[in-house]
């Protein structure tokens, strides 16, 4: 088990964002974290990446307690936040170099160049990020999230705001990553198409609780994902 979450509770200013959340993810999974806006997906990812603390509950990432060993967790995970901003005055190469320097094992220029090739940005490495399209920026964000060769990658709504081609590119990239490097991927989305194309397991979250979880193929046997989603989140809004 690479992720084991038990009874996670988090509230902000009296509003409960997570209300006893529990789930687990196996190594190598592409795990879809499905839920309407405001269901608690981003809060969960932030807690799992040791950016914020929970009020109570337990989280083990690859055996490390995320609250007691945040640095150990950060070394083996990485993430692409939902509204990821970029240092637009940097080139893609400089951007990756900067983040690589923040890890103990730095990447060489060749390695970061290769990462840019992997995400389809070859030939653009010396262009300023401000000249990139939204899809290119998202691919650069994924390259940044791969800089420490993470065992576990969190992606928060990675296809949001992308056109169909951009979305397809990101899907292909994630499938390649998972197959080639065995990276476990947890990604949050409210787009059912993303889930059906990528995931082998999903969890549906609503009002800070997991309302349904399991293997996608098995769940498909019980009806369409869309029906399941609407039934599970009927009080929430997409």
């Amino acid at each position: 088990m690479i992720i084991n979450v038990e009874n996670l509770i988090k509230s902000y200013d009296g509003h409960t964002a997570l209300d006893g959340l529990s789930f687990s993810v196996e190594e190598g999974d592409i795990f879809g974290f499905l839920g309407p806006n405001g269901a608690g997906k981003t809060t969960t990812i932030r807690i799992l990446t040791a950016i914020i603390k929970a009020d109570s509950g337990n989280v083990l990432i690859n055996g490390h307690d995320v609250f007691k060993e945040p640095l150990a967790v950060k070394k083996i995970v990485n993430a692409l936040p939902e509204s990821n901003g970029y240092y637009e005055w940097m080139t893609a190469q400089e951007y990756l170099e900067f983040f690589s320097n923040l890890y103990d094992e730095k990447q060489s220029k060749q390695e970061s160049g290769k990462l840019l090739v992997d995400v389809g940005l070859s030939g653009k490495e010396n262009h300023l990020i401000r000249s990139y399209s939204r899809g290119m920026k998202q691919r650069l964000g994924i390259a940044r999230a791969l800089i420490n060769k993470p065992k576990l990658l969190f992606l928060d709504e990675p296809t949001n705001g992308l056109d169909p081609k951009g979305r397809r590119d990101i899907h292909d990239l994630l499938i390649t990553l998972s197959r080639k490097h065995g990276t476990t991927i947890l990604f949050s989305t409210h787009l059912l198409d993303d889930v059906e194309r990528l995931c082998n397991k999903i969890a549906i979250i609503n009002y800070g609780k997991i309302v349904r979880t399991g293997e996608l193929d098995k769940m498909k046997g019980q009806g369409t994902i869309e029906d399941m989603f609407f039934l599970s989140t009927k009080e929430g809004a997409l």
Partner: protein
């Protein structure tokens, strides 16, 4: 070491940019006008050269503090508003390392302002007394004041998470610490005025410059004021540490 990379990034982002250079060109233009006026204008040129040196030192210190406040206010809230903070926090860097890197950039900025001002200080003060000792005090106290105000503003930026609001509060603080200078001499000479001056790190620095450059007084006269400034430096770093430890997205 990771702080050094953050600092390097900050320097490229805030100093080696058109905006950064505009600050420095404006600084040098203001210093040019001030020193030319001091030395040539019929009335101002008749100020004692120690006094001119003292006035320019005050201006440089105020400018260093002011830009330090802007650096501080942008530190966390600016990154958060631009959406770049989360990626930084995901990497295995201690929050205080991020803060120290940013503080390092604010100090680099102060160093550049000091370097820009040196030729002016030499030109204006070369026939006056206490030029070198004055520059020494300016370098040390300016550095401490930059730490105090940048760290405070940075701490606010981490707590408030709004660049605009932390900037407004920081500027208000700057006006508050600068205001005793506008008080009448009579009021400043009362015990209350003297007390206000003593607990105000900015006034402490200005009064130290006055005492060193104009009155040629030695270190023993400055010890209390410098001790208070050092106390504020430690206090501001403690405030910064506490604020960033509580920082959440």
């Amino acid at each position: 070491m990771k702080s050094a990379y953050i600092m390097q990034k900050e320097i490229r982002e805030s100093i080696l940019t058109p905006k950064g250079f505009l600050w420095y060109i404006l600084t040098s233009i203001i210093l040019s006008v001030l020193s030319y006026l001091f030395l040539t204008n019929s009335e101002l040129s008749l100020l004692d050269q120690g006094e001119m040196l003292y006035l320019i030192m005050n201006f440089i210190t105020a400018l260093g503090v002011l830009i330090g406040l802007v650096f501080g206010a942008d530190a966390f809230a600016g990154e958060m508003e631009r959406g770049t903070l989360e990626a930084l926090l995901i990497s295995p860097v201690n929050k205080m390392e991020i803060a120290l890197g940013k503080l390092g950039a604010a100090l680099t900025n102060w160093g550049i302002i000091l370097a820009i001002s040196l030729p002016y200080l030499f030109v204006v003060g070369k026939r006056g007394q206490n030029l070198f000792i004055g520059i020494g005090y300016l370098a040390v106290l300016g550095t401490l004041l930059t730490i105090i105000f940048s760290a405070f503003s940075m701490g606010l930026s981490a707590r408030i998470k709004s660049m605009k609001n932390s900037l407004i509060i920081s500027f208000f603080l700057f006006l508050l610490v600068g205001s005793p200078i506008f008080l009448s001499t009579a009021l400043r000479m009362t015990w209350f005025g003297k007390f206000l001056d003593l607990i105000n790190p900015f006034a402490d620095a200005i009064n130290t410059f006055d005492s060193v450059v104009i009155d040629s007084q030695n270190f023993s006269y400055q010890a209390w004021r410098i001790a208070i400034i050092c106390g504020y430096t430690l206090l501001s770093l403690w405030f910064l540490k506490r604020s960033v430890s509580k920082l959440e997205m």
